[in-house]
Amino acid sequence: MNEDKFEPKIVGFCCNWCSYAGADLAATSRIQYPPNIRIIRVMCSGRVSPAFLLKALAVGADGVLVAGCHPGDCHYMAGNYKTRRRVEFTRRLLEQFGVEPERLRLEWISASEGTKFAEVVTDFTDKIRKLGPNSLRGDRRWQKRER
């Protein structure tokens, strides 16, 4: 990678039933979207613990996308409602930690919304690129020992 040009690294948590299928559709429909996102498939967006989001940022991801079924469409009835509250809590927490809350994004993407998936990833990548590298990537002097 060119050292001068900042390319964001984005971690995406996609639920198996809607958003991952949406990402699949984007690919089978050959819709172009930036390669900056690394997708992790989870069974439900409700499976995404806030610790996953913090860990992704702590180890140097520049942005984290959580994508799940639209409200009312959750395969497990109500997982995405918990996600909605958890992500909102985590965004506030990140702000207190001095990390831009915009680095964490929640989107509802259904299995038929391949286009939306590509649009979201394109838009998020652009925004993170403008935001610059995650400051947690920097000096980790105090981490003398890893647990």
Partner: protein, 330 residues
């Protein structure tokens, strides 16, 4: 000199309030059992030993070291390293040594900000020249030194290798007795539990809490002074932010027994690394559960706003041991 057959014990306090040392004496007559099997070689709060006495000892000549307090300064770090070298067993004693504890909340600021508050901004401070602690200063041709105050508070296990953990702020008498039992067994047979053992329970505080629980129907969070809670019902059910469901048990739910919510001093349960994230996840799951499908994004935002100071609440005892460890200051 140690008597034959007795083990050697060291206590040390770093960034701490002294409560852990007081708690050690709370075991009452059992302290005599400790003295019967052990000779104390260092205990700054209670006995007059010097660091040099310990420095002169051979490596691994102390059997057990109980270290309480977080690592805030170069002195704490140096003594931790020295005691680790001299001790066979290192025990992180109390929440500060285990997770950073209350002094760990200093990680929301850095040295410059802390000095500015302590030596300039407080109303009772008169310090027009803004003199702050320095590591070295010359006075009348003599060089005087002080330990360095670090920007970031560390836990003991981020500083040296730790064998066992005794959480609690301070550890409760029963758990200290368990720790004494471990030391006594070691003195007698040389046997030790597996490395990394936490001297507490694997289940949460709720497991010990005698309050009645119902289905959680929280609509907002109350601060303890805002309502008069029913002493027999779960505090979380009544809207008081209690960290019990995400906190390790073993404390005998002492706070809950006196109508106070759990503040999380026992730290996370086994396998959980980030206590604050676990508490956040728990609160987010139960808050606004009823009618969640009808809630607008704005209502969710309002709900989330009812929790004041998330960082200070969720990470009250565990900020230095959390995934992000400190606040980023630009």
């Amino acid at each position: 000199m140690a008597e034959k057959g007795k083990i050697k014990l060291a206590f040390y306090w770093a960034a701490t309030c002294g409560g852990c040392d007081v708690a050690t004496l709370d075991i009452e007559e059992k302290i005599l059992d400790v003295v019967a099997i052990a000779d104390i070689v260092l205990w700054p709060v209670a006995m007059d030993f010097k660091y040099q006495d310990v420095e002169r000892m051979e490596a691994k000549s102390i059997d057990v070291c109980l270290y309480n307090g977080a690592v805030r300064s170069s002195e704490h770090e140096e003594i931790a390293e020295m005691l680790r070298e001299k001790s066979k067993v290192m025990i992180a004693f109390g929440s500060c040594a285990c997770f950073g504890g209350i002094p760990g909340l200093g990680n929301v600021a850095n040295r410059e900000q802390i000095f500015s508050v302590a030596y300039k901004e407080t109303p009772s401070t008169v310090n027009p020249e803004y003199i702050t602690p320095m590591t070295e200063v010359e006075v009348a041709g003599e060089k005087l030194t002080l330990p360095e105050f670090y920007d970031t508070v560390k836990t003991l296990d981020q500083t040296v290798d730790v064998d066992y953990y005794v959480p609690g702020c301070p550890p409760v008498v029963d758990r200290i007795n368990d720790a004494v039992g471990i030391i006594a067994k070691y003195a007698e047979t040389g046997e030790l539990p597996p490395k990394g053992t936490v001297v507490a329970f694997d289940k949460t505080v709720c497991d010990e809490c005698p309050r009645e629980r119902e289905e959680k129907k929280l609509r907002r969070i109350y601060r303890p002074y805002e309502i008069k809670p029913d002493p027999n019902k779960c505090l979380l059910d009544q809207g008081i932010l209690c960290m019990g469901p995400a906190t390790r048990g073993g404390c005998g739910s002492q706070c809950l027994n006196v109508n106070m919510p759990c503040r999380g001093c026992m730290g996370p349960t086994a396998e959980v690394k980030d206590h604050g994230a676990a508490v956040l996840s728990m609160i987010a799951s139960v808050l606004g559960l009823e009618g969640e499908e009808k809630m607008s994004d704005k209502e969710v935002e309002e709900l989330v706003s009812s929790v004041n100071d998330q960082l200070g609440t969720f990470y009250r005892f565990t900020l230095p041991s959390s995934l992000l460890r400190r606040v980023i200051i630009k």
